[in-house]
């Protein structure tokens, strides 16, 4: 079942949480809504579920090409997994999972025997069938999360929505559970949307990522697309560590110290300043000014504990630069604090700040 989000806007008082959001989730896809807190991603998820109602009448949510605006919760068949699980605290795990079946109208309600079979089957699916008679308070966070998932699946939803599914778990459980979710999704192939503020989580688990910022969709694409071809400065900045240089534009070029960088061809002529982004692992440290496509800097700090060596430098114009190099390269350079070196960007992205404040972009 596909989900189509069409021109959705939502305000809470004066705060505009969503501004004309549209995109489509294809059947069987696992899509991540990724963005910083306050970007509107949870509001959007709640609107898809029907918990919140969007503003105005010109937008809508289509599930399987059918407008859901006037469809009740019961017929919408949306499974929703809450960030804090929202398990019914006074019911056993078994009754929690059975809830969606028990509240069906009498003529649609399965018999007690079928409910029992179905719940046990779901508990086995999330590998917690031995916890049926416990109360939610007796379970760990990761177990509660999986029960919440089983409960949502009991009603055989057309789509599955997960709000920060791993947000309240510790780092190790979170990693295990997101790989589990990916395998789980591959087995069930149910169209799913999950909200996260963790870019690593989104890039690792999702088929496609919808990047959101300040109530707007910034980019939609596969993890590879959004990571390697970010549509704008926000996306580049949000996905992974980055060095950011604010630079003045002079004669159609932007300067990193003495290093000139071409402006994107299609960029506005009257641009006055630009943002240059370079990821830490795409900067090379050299002792000589080979050819001059580099700029001068001084080493301020070295952290060699970890898979990569992290080197902090400061440029002649006072900007801090963060570089990651391999241990082999670090050894061959024989780098020490206070060393005077040259830094060469192997790849960079330039986003022009036009006078309107809007940003243009291009590839290197």
């Amino acid at each position: 079942m596909s989900i189509e989000i069409r021109n959705i806007s939502k305000s809470f008082g004066d705060f505009r949480a969503l501004k004309d959001v549209s995109f489509k989730v294809d059947t069987g896809e696992l899509v991540a809504l990724l963005g910083p807190s306050g970007s509107g991603k949870t509001s959007l998820l709640r609107i898809i579920a029907g918990i919140e109602v969007p503003d105005g009448n010109d937008g809508g949510i289509l599930i399987h090409d059918e407008d859901t605006t006037s469809i009740s919760f019961r017929d919408r068949r949306v499974g929703f997994v809450f960030q804090h699980y929202a398990l019914f605290r006074h019911m056993t795990i078994f009754e929690n999972v059975a809830f969606g079946l028990r509240v069906r109208p009498r003529r649609l309600r399965p018999s007690e025997k079928i409910i029992r079979e179905k719940v046990n089957e779901l508990l086995k699916l999330v590998q917690l069938d031995w916890l049926g008679d416990r109360l939610p308070s007796q379970l760990s966070g990761g177990q509660r999360q999986r029960i919440a998932l089983a409960r949502a699946l009991a009603v055989e939803p057309n789509v599955l929505l997960l709000d920060e599914p791993f947000g309240s778990l510790d780092a190790k459980v979170r990693k295990e559970l997101r790989q589990w979710l990916r395998r789980f999704h591959d087995e069930l192939k149910i169209t799913s949307v999950f909200v996260t503020h963790d870019q690593e989580e989104a890039l690792e688990v999702a088929d496609r990522v919808v990047l959101m910022n300040e109530g707007r969709v910034e980019q939609v694409g596969t993890p590879e697309e959004v990571y390697h071809h970010p549509a704008n400065a926000f996306v580049y900045n949000f996905l992974g560590n980055v060095n950011l240089f604010h630079s003045r534009v002079e004669e159609g070029k932007v300067f990193l110290g003495e290093l000139p960088i071409d402006l994107p061809a299609e960029s506005t002529r009257d641009a006055k300043s630009a943002l240059v982004f370079v990821r830490p692992h795409l900067l090379e440290i050299e002792h000589q000014r080979n050819g001059g496509d580099n700029f001068h800097a001084k080493v301020t700090h070295i952290n060699a504990a970890g898979p990569l060596v992290k080197v902090d430098l400061v440029t002649d114009w006072g900007a801090a630069v963060h570089v990651e190099i391999s241990h082999g390269r670090y050894a061959s350079l024989g780098l020490k604090r206070e060393d005077e070196v040259f830094v060469r960007p192997k790849e960079r992205r330039v986003f022009v700040e036009a006078q309107s404040g809007k940003e243009d972009s291009t590839h290197p």
Binding site: G50, V78, F80, A86, R89, F99, R151, S168
Partner: protein, 283 residues
């Protein structure tokens, strides 16, 4: 635990002395005075027709006021805790009003409203409806003074629990009533019972407001507290204390139930605490 032993002994002793003088001794006095002339006189004063009428009226007033305030309290707490709407803080203030107004004033308000010289008095007299100095007035006054108990007990509890479980129930296909009966009510049952018990204790023990609207007609508009006062003023102290002992027994039962509920709901409170902590850690 750094205080010397004698300081601790004095402090604990003082506390016990206070408790004894202000709580325990009066309790003992009530029962000794009631049984002063023997158990027979005690039973006689309770079985006497005016006393039976007073007991019946008290049960009627509480029997009407408590269920009404239960329904109202749950509805108000539900609205306040789970929804945002204009005038919400005004509603909260309004619910608290009976707590902040002297009960005698609440009684007087009803006299001014429904009394013969009151706003609605002439119209009521015309239709031969008697509210003041009759049972309806007593019931109304009781409802008024016990208005806040249930709502006040539930609002903080429901606010702490949030509405995620209700939202979950709705996404699972439950209707409004199903959500209320299966999710909301079980979650608040101990708090609700606690509120009802307090409400009932006050409804049965209320003196001021009821006294103003009652008219003290023996056998007709006297509740237990009013009857006790009349008997006492007639120097019939054994009978007066027999009446008082009934209310005292109610108090003891209330305390016992409250202790039981506190113990039962500890789990619930602990869970709410956990949720709060998580929310705080999140923020």
């Amino acid at each position: 635990m750094s205080e010397p032993r004698w300081v601790r002994a004095i402090l604990i002793g003082l506390a016990l002395l206070f408790l004894g003088i202000f709580l325990l001794v009066p309790l003992i006095v009530v029962f000794t005075e009631a049984f002063k002339k023997g158990a027979e006189v005690y039973l006689e004063s309770i079985r006497e027709p005016d006393a039976v009428a007073a007991i019946r009226l008290t049960l009627i007033a509480a029997g009407i006021a408590v269920p009404l305030n239960l329904v109202f309290g749950v509805a108000a707490a539900w609205a306040i805790a789970k929804f945002q709407f204009p005038g919400k803080s005004f509603l909260i203030t309004l619910i608290d009003l009976p707590f902040s107004v002297s009960p005698v004033i609440s009684g007087l308000v009803y006299i001014l409203l429904f009394g013969l010289q009151g706003w609605l008095g002439p119209w009521l007299a015309e239709h031969e409806i008697k509210i003041i100095f009759a049972v309806p007035g007593i019931v109304l006054a009781t409802i008024f003074v016990t208005f806040p108990f249930v709502a006040r007990e539930l609002i903080p509890l429901m606010q702490a629990q949030g509405s995620e479980e209700e939202e979950a129930a709705r996404t699972l296909g439950a209707g409004g009533w199903q959500t209320f009966w299966r999710v909301t009510l079980p979650n608040i049952k101990w708090g609700l019972l606690y509120g009802v018990i307090l409400c009932n204790a006050r409804a049965m023990g209320e003196f001021g407001a009821v006294s103003v609207v009652s008219g003290h007609i023996r056998g007709a508009t006297n509740t237990i507290p009013l009857h006790a006062e009349i008997l006492y003023n007639e120097y019939n102290s054994a009978a007066a204390f027999a009446m008082a002992s009934l209310l005292t027994i109610l108090t003891l039962v209330t305390i016992a139930l409250k202790a039981l509920i506190d113990w039962k709901s500890q789990v619930e409170v602990r869970e709410v605490g956990e949720i709060r902590e998580r929310a705080l850690a999140e923020a």
